[in-house]
């Protein structure tokens, strides 16, 4: 069981992701935008963060960059959830230190597997 931070401004996606991860036994922290995600990550130091790329205030890429810049949060694995399956987004995500990405529309089951794989790699 791990503590996972989920940040997405779309309530439908957020609720589905949260449900799936809780069902898999994880504790889930929820943020509705990038700013909230960043402060939650700094405060709670989750085991993993699932970040939507397109969020208000801070994008998922911004949050990822900020997490990597802070030694306290630099080790938190990040999975990006993006509606744009374009090379540029994926490249930027990896350049900012993301560990994996999932494109929307997404399969909750696939996301759950990715979360497990990233957590297993970090342990």
């Amino acid at each position: 069981m791990a503590m996972v931070l989920v940040a997405d401004d779309d309530p439908d996606i957020r609720d589905v992701v949260v449900f799936k991860l809780q069902q898999s036994g994880h504790d889930v922290l929820v943020a509705e935008d990038g700013g909230e995600a960043l402060s939650l990550a700094r405060r709670a130091l989750p085991d993993l963060a699932v970040l939507d790329v397109m969020m208000p205030r801070f994008t998922g890429l911004d949050v990822c960059r900020e997490l990597r810049a802070d030694p306290e949060t630099a080790g938190i694995p990040v999975i990006l959830l993006t509606a744009r399956a374009q090379e540029g987004d994926i490249e930027s995500g990896f350049a900012w230190g993301a560990d994996d990405y999932v494109t929307k529309p997404f399969s909750p089951r696939e996301l759950d597997s990715r979360v497990r794989a990233v957590l297993a790699r970090r342990r």
Partner: protein, 368 residues
């Protein structure tokens, strides 16, 4: 002594009535605005109340947590008022998930008769209802969806046609390629930016449908089709585009063929594009061909483009200089040679000026 000129006489009573009327109108507007907001808030709260009992079930279904079908049964038998509020949420979720989650949501919409209703609503008299039906059919797909959507491509409302094209692209059914191409080339065509992404998602069948329309007798149709071939990214159609560039009697078709070849990046296009920059060709075509050579990044084109920088036609020379920058470091080096050739004036002055301008617009190229 002269009398002062008389000003306009305003009846005091009329003024009072006008002010009172104005205040009354403002009050009525304010009351209307506030009651409108109140009504909206009340409706939203009512909707949220009706959605609340079913939403957790829907979220669980969309998360793929319904191995025994219990959730589906419960959602399928929700009271009608609750379902009516929940249906837009289910439809919105459908576009956000895939795999088992999507299959479960489609099953729910079918059980609730939403798909059958959308097939009927595609013929509704209200355009918003038809557009909503087209959107839903694009999300759900299934038997009957493509033919019904293909028929909607001829809808009298442009919004409905645009929603329909996007839905057909989402479904990716090859049988939709020909109706989409027809929508692109008919008298009141759908714009490229709507049809081309749909054709691109459909894939090879789109190329076949576009190529079938590329020999149309009307040059306007040929031009639109040729442009679409470039936008769809059909590299294997480069020979047909080369033929259009060299042989089509309509300049507009040749021009779009040049642009499409540049986008496709086919090496076989370099020779024909170089030929299209010749001095006997129409100026617009020479310019577009030079641009396409730059987009292609064709190093082989550098000597010809460098020659064009001295072309007497300003537009051709300017574009050739910019194309040299686009070609890359070798093109920029050729430009620097032209810029340095006659820095102070002389016979080569226009070429030198074009070269310096292009280099200035691309600082990286100037410094290299």
């Amino acid at each position: 002594m002269t009398a002062a000129p008389a000003g306009p006489v305003v009846d005091r009573a009329v003024l009072v009535v006008a002010v009172v009327a104005l205040v009354a109108v403002l009050l009525v507007l304010a009351v209307a605005l506030l009651s409108g907001r109140w009504w909206q808030r009340r409706a939203a709260a009512g909707r949220a109340q009706r959605v609340a009992p079913g939403r957790p079930l829907l979220v669980a279904l969309a998360a793929g947590d319904d191995d025994d079908g219990t959730l589906l049964d419960r959602l399928a038998t929700l009271p009608r008022a609750q379902w009516r509020a929940l249906e837009p949420v289910a439809v919105a979720m459908l576009g956000k998930v895939r795999g088992d989650a999507r299959t479960a949501l489609v099953a729910l919409l079918e059980r609730r008769g939403v798909v059958q209703r959308a097939l009927r609503d595609a013929r509704h008299r209200r355009s918003t209802t038809r557009a909503r039906a087209a959107h839903l059919l694009g999300l759900v797909g299934g038997p009957g969806a493509t033919p019904r959507l293909a028929a909607l491509l001829g809808d009298r409302d442009p919004e409905v046609r645009a929603v329909t094209a996007r839905s057909l692209g989402r479904l990716g059914d090859p049988s939709a390629a020909t109706p989409l191409v027809r929508a692109l080339v008919r008298a009141r065509p759908l714009p490229h930016q709507v049809v081309v992404p749909a054709l691109a998602r459909i894939g090879p069948a789109s190329r076949t449908a576009l190529l079938a329309a590329a020999d149309h007798h009307d040059p306007t149709v040929r031009a639109r089709v040729i442009e679409a071939l470039g936008l769809v990214g059909a590299v294997d159609t480069a020979p047909r585009l080369v033929r259009a560039l060299g042989e089509d009697p309509a300049v507009d078709v040749r021009l779009r063929a040049a642009r499409a070849l540049g986008r496709l990046g086919a090496p076989s296009a370099v020779g024909p594009l170089l030929a299209a920059t010749g001095p006997d060709e129409p100026t617009a075509l020479r310019v577009t061909a030079a641009q396409a050579l730059g987009v292609l990044g064709a190093r082989r084109a550098i000597p010809v483009l460098a020659g064009l920088v001295a072309d007497p036609h300003h537009w051709v020379a300017h574009t050739a200089a910019a194309a040299l920058v686009a070609v890359g470091p070798d093109g920029a080096a050729a430009l620097r040679g032209l810029a340095d050739a006659a820095p102070g004036g002389g016979a080569d002055r226009p070429a030198s000026a074009h070269a310096r301008e292009a280099l200035a617009a691309a600082p990286g190229a100037a410094a290299a």
